[in-house]
């Protein structure tokens, strides 16, 4: 039932499989080597950065670069800002996207399908078109240079997650909610006590993607956060480079980069299944 092995099934398969493995292995080098180079640079003393030919294994290994990188700029503060946003966004996503997706998935109302098409279409709006007015809106509200512009929109739904959740909610059999209705359960009750508990895996995907989105976000903090004390990790890392003027301390910059990259990599390593699942779901044929 699944399509596999386009290239044929015979004895030649062994050779072709070996060839495929070889190509993939070779291709994996440019994928992974940069990370290793990042780590290698992070652990070098400054004088070893500019050595020619470049060395891969630093000696001595300067673990204190990580500490120095963290104190060069107030990274713990940036971390706290980023986490605040992340938690705010995740909570907002869990509330708004599930409610909206439930409405689209399990209720009927006039214009539902048209509204859903509009939902999908909004994902294709270039962000620059809405950026200036949204910025002006938050400016008028006095929210610029606070974390609010980065958190509040999450409480109004995100089309991608609404789409994801709606697909999942539709797959829950109607009989279950019908039975609950007969027992006198309210719509909200069905949502809370039946649909949500069944949605663990999709909610996990949404939480992971939301976190990743906040952690990696550069543009929106750039627009809305001016003062250093409000900045996120992404902005902090960018500022790091601008500080030096002429001679960037690449080893510290790479050390800071490693620290910024580690949590996402760890997240990915632990919850790989959810990442891949989320990406696959985003590629659903429409």
């Amino acid at each position: 039932m699944r399509g596999k092995d386009v290239f044929g099934k015979r004895a030649q398969t062994r050779i072709s499989r070996g060839l495929v493995s070889l190509v993939l292995l070779v291709g994996a080098v440019p994928m992974l080597a940069p990370f290793l180079w990042m780590l290698s640079t992070a652990l070098k003393p400054l004088r070893q950065i500019f050595v020619y030919p470049p060395v891969w294994i630093p000696s001595p290994v300067e673990w204190e670069n990580f500490y120095r990188a963290l104190t060069y700029l107030p990274f713990p503060l940036f971390f706290r800002n980023t986490m605040t946003i992340a938690i705010g966004v995740i909570v907002g996503s869990l509330i708004s996207n599930t409610l909206v997706a439930y409405g689209f998935a399990r209720l009927r109302f006039p214009g539902r399908d048209i509204l859903f098409i509009i939902l999908i279409s909004t994902t294709m709006i270039p962000w620059m078109v809405t950026l200036v007015p949204v910025f002006l809106l938050f400016h008028k509200l006095g929210w610029v240079n606070t974390l609010l512009p980065l958190i509040v929109p999450a409480y109004f739904g995100t089309p991608f997650y609404i789409f994801l959740l709606r697909q999942f909610f539709r797959s829950i059999p109607l009989e279950i909610s019908d039975a609950a209705k007969i027992d006198g359960c309210s719509e909200l009750g069905i949502y809370l006590r039946i649909v949500l508990p069944l949605s663990g895996p999709v909610l996990a995907v949404m939480i992971i993607f939301s976190f990743q989105g906040v952690w990696n976000d550069f543009l929106r903090p750039l627009v809305f956060l001016n003062e250093r004390r409000m900045k996120t990790l992404a902005l902090g890392l960018y500022e790091f480079r601008g500080l030096e003027g002429g001679g960037t301390q690449w080893n510290l910059l790479m050390a800071a980069s490693v620290l910024m990259v580690m949590p996402v990599i760890l997240l990915f390593a632990s919850f790989q299944r959810y990442f891949i699942q989320g990406v696959r779901l985003s590629g659903i044929k429409r």
Binding site: G3, D5, S96, I125, M260
Partner: protein, 309 residues
């Protein structure tokens, strides 16, 4: 007798209507957060942006209506408008086909029954997972003149360095290269699509005597065309809006060779505070992206194959 039946019929119908109305009300209630957000963060801003594009506005003073002067300036008095448009088109129409080809090819390779498929998939996906800021810094370091890893490798191969990000000619290709490093995300989508191709089609083709290449062109490609189509649309829309990598790595340089459209509009908005002009620029972008999308959708009937056909 007849009257009571009619009465019962009416009562049932009335009850059904009120149930449907109740459900509709609940439906709207559930989606209300999104509706509010739609107006506040999407539709409202789009209209506001349109209005502002006909004004001169620097935040410090109220907007001044100036008619279509912004648009006239765009088209007749702003060489950087055309430069940024050219840069963006160059980048998009090279990067998107490249990414589709590489992603698709990798997915094909990964779809074979080799051991460690999960490992490979993770390895290729990893670069697209990590923050762009961090990887931009990394690639800046790798492409650093002379001391960077890239130049070192070229020197070892006795090849001249193209100057990478410092070169007017090679800055865009370098950014395209860096962008392709993150091909893992689309690769995973292609992989999912490949695995959804029904095995029976391959078997039927084989029975009909089709060799591997014929099976590829007559089964794989048609069945994958919706996925490719989807990736093409999303790819073009997103790539046309390239911003972060240029902002961080090159700041539009050298000599505006990587001044992409969004970067240019962003500068007008937040560096020069030409909000009105920036809105005009962004509306032009909107129209361009819309036109491209419509064109691709129109062309879809020619080459996208859906199972229902």
């Amino acid at each position: 007798m007849a009257e009571s039946k009619v009465a019962v019929g009416r009562a049932v119908k009335a009850r059904r209507v009120s149930m449907a109305t109740g459900e509709a009300i609940r439906g709207y209630a559930f989606i209300s957060p999104w509706i509010i957000g739609l107006i506040a963060f999407s539709l409202g801003p789009i209209l506001a942006s349109l209005y502002l594009s006909f004004t001169r506005y620097t935040i410090l003073r109220p907007p001044v209506f100036i008619g279509h002067r912004n648009y006239v300036k765009l088209f007749t008095d702003d060489p950087l408008f055309y430069t940024s448009l050219y840069n963006t088109a160059y980048y998009t129409f090279l990067a998107v086909p490249l990414r589709i080809a590489v992603g698709f090819l990798l997915a094909l390779l990964l779809n074979t029954k080799i051991r460690g498929m999960t490992w490979f998939r993770s390895m290729y996906y990893l670069p697209s997972v990590v923050p762009v800021v961090a990887t931009s810094m990394l690639w800046l370091w790798i492409f650093a003149p002379q001391i960077g890893l890239a130049d070192f490798i070229l020197a070892k191969l006795h090849l001249p360095s193209p100057g990478w990000l410092q070169s007017e000619t090679w800055s865009k290709p370098t950014l395209i290269l860096v962008g392709t490093w993150g091909v893992g995300r689309s690769m995973v989508i292609y992989l999912a699509g490949l695995q959804d191709v029904p095995q029976v089609l391959y078997e039927a083709a084989q029975i009909d005597g089709a060799g591997p290449w014929k099976r590829f062109t007559h089964v794989t490609i048609p069945m994958m065309s919706p996925t490719i189509f989807f990736n093409l649309v999303i790819g073009i829309i997103n790539t046309f809006q390239v911003f972060t990598s240029a902002y961080i790595m090159t700041e539009g340089g050298p000599i505006n060779s990587t001044l992409f459209y969004n970067l240019y509009a962003y500068r007008h908005a937040f560096s020069y505070l030409h909000m009105g002009y920036a809105c005009a620029l962004s509306w032009i972008l909107f129209i361009i992206v819309l036109t491209l999308t419509i064109l691709i959708f129109r062309s879809a009937t020619a080459w996208v194959y859906y199972e229902t056909q």
